[in-house]
Amino acid sequence: MKNATRIFVLALVLGLVATACSSADESLEGRTVTVAIENLYPPFNFIDEVTGQGAGFDYDIWNEICSRLDCKAEFVEAVWPDVILETGDGVYDTAADGISITEERKEVVAYSDSYMTTIQKIMVRSDESRWATADEFFASNSKLGTQVGTTNYELATTLTNESNIDAFDLFPTAVLALLSGDVDAVIIDDVAGQGYVGEGNEGTKLLEGDLQSDPLGFIYAKGSELIDPVNEIIADMKSDGTMDKLIKKWFIDFKA
């Protein structure tokens, strides 16, 4: 009985100390945060051919966020675009995956502050000589590939005839269709496009001309306790140069 009382008092004191600490510096007290990704969207997230493990911008940024917030990021593979609704329903704590912030999606999920901005571009086969700019491509009424449920698809429907659009379940399949000639172009976020052009990927190139600029954010279930602490970290990472370093690492220096 005496022992039990002692343990109770000890637990109470420890509890108070822990609470005091956490309110001081926004700690998540070592909890696990499930981060939904696809592992199909380089350089945001993909399986590294050498290590066989998931890698990319999303992994680095969430490991960094968690190291500052005292949490453990657990990356879970999910299906696009269903992941948006699932996250809204609380299946995952958050989802990365280079998700554009749109009004429609705000009806089902809460967003973080934008951590970067991407510009949608037109990607074509590298031997393409018919068009130099995105405008010329759309004037030609040619076949365009995209992915189901993306802002790329939404934008495509406003720029060309619905019958010119092939919407694939997976982004890499759209790129495959481009390379095999089933479509003549793929609409893509420039930062993701970097994963498919350049060294080692001589098959494709980006056309001149920016189509639309999209701010990217992480998503949560509405009312998530992660929103405010992660927003603070995003602001910190922008001001201390970490964000620029990560963007340079994955979207400028990285070659798939």
Partner: protein
């Protein structure tokens, strides 16, 4: 006395038993299915979102029908050839048929569709100098042929089982009255085999209709793809997939009832 006067025979079932027999024999499952379909139908008549979803997704019906019926026609023609080769006494056609059946049955349907539609056909087109965007390369044709090639293997085995189920004595009797091989097959074997084949063939047609949803992976705008596009833009996953499921259920149950009716019609009297 030559014929039995059935009209004046006493009713063999006692009065109480007749009611309970009808109760047990009533197609309650069909009532359940209709009730299941009735919910989405009610919603789409009364709710604007459901109505929008239905109007968007229904545009995919054309391609669902094309893939199903063109695919089934290809599967029947090719499947009959494969099954005859499979039953051949000669080693070469028999082994080719067995190779084909095992190849197709050993690879998942989805994998075959991706392989055929996105890898093999484009590879062949680029070697043969065919424009993949020409009519012949259209996704509707690619999807129908892929489904047809797959189901040819399944149907070949159904046909073989049906044909082999006809007793050897029937064949021999046909021969003994002077019919040739072709006539024996056409007039003796086939009419009996088709009764055994029909139920399994009907199952394959319904399974094929359901598997036509898999060609959505090729970005073919059949009803599954249409519901993916609709839900992907507005996140009404519950509504979109309820409508989609109700559409498939209506088609498959309708087809199933049609096939049951046809089976009864051709059944041995």
């Amino acid at each position: 006395m030559t014929a039995i006067d059935t009209e004046h025979l006493p009713d063999p079932t006692p009065p109480g038993a007749k009611l309970s027999y009808d109760f047990a024999g009533f197609p309650w499952w069909l009532v359940g299915i209709l009730a299941t379909i009735a919910f989405p139908v009610y919603k789409l008549l009364t709710d604007e979102t459901w109505n929008d979803g239905f109007l968007f997704i229904k545009d995919g019906l054309t391609l669902t029908f094309i893939v199903t019926f063109a695919g089934f026609a290809i599967a029947m023609v090719l499947g009959l050839g494969v099954s005859l080769a499979r039953m051949s006494k000669r080693a070469v056609p028999r082994n080719i048929a067995m190779y084909y059946i095992e190849l197709i049955r050993g690879i998942p349907v989805l994998v075959t569709i991706i392989m055929f539609g996105l890898v093999i056909v484009p590879w062949f087109f680029s070697r043969a100098g065919i424009d993949p965007q020409s009519t012949i390369g259209s996704k509707a044709i690619r999807a129908s042929v892929a489904i047809g090639l797959i189901y040819a293997a399944f149907i070949a085995e159904v046909l073989r089982a049906g044909i082999e189920s006809v007793e050897k004595g029937q064949r021999e009797a046909g021969m003994s009255v002077g019919l040739n091989n072709r006539q024996v097959f056409r007039f003796i074997v086939w009419p009996q085999a088709i009764r055994n084949i029909m139920p399994a063939l009907g199952n394959d047609l319904i399974a094929l209709l359901k598997d036509s949803s898999l060609v959505s992976i090729l970005a073919v705008r059949e009803i599954t793809q249409m519901s993916r596009l609709w839900t992907g833009r507005n996140f009404q996953f519950f509504t979109g997939f309820m409508i989609l499921a109700a559409m498939y259920l209506t088609l498959t149950v309708g087809l199933s009832l049609l096939l049951q009716w046809y089976e009864r019609r051709i059944a041995t009297p």
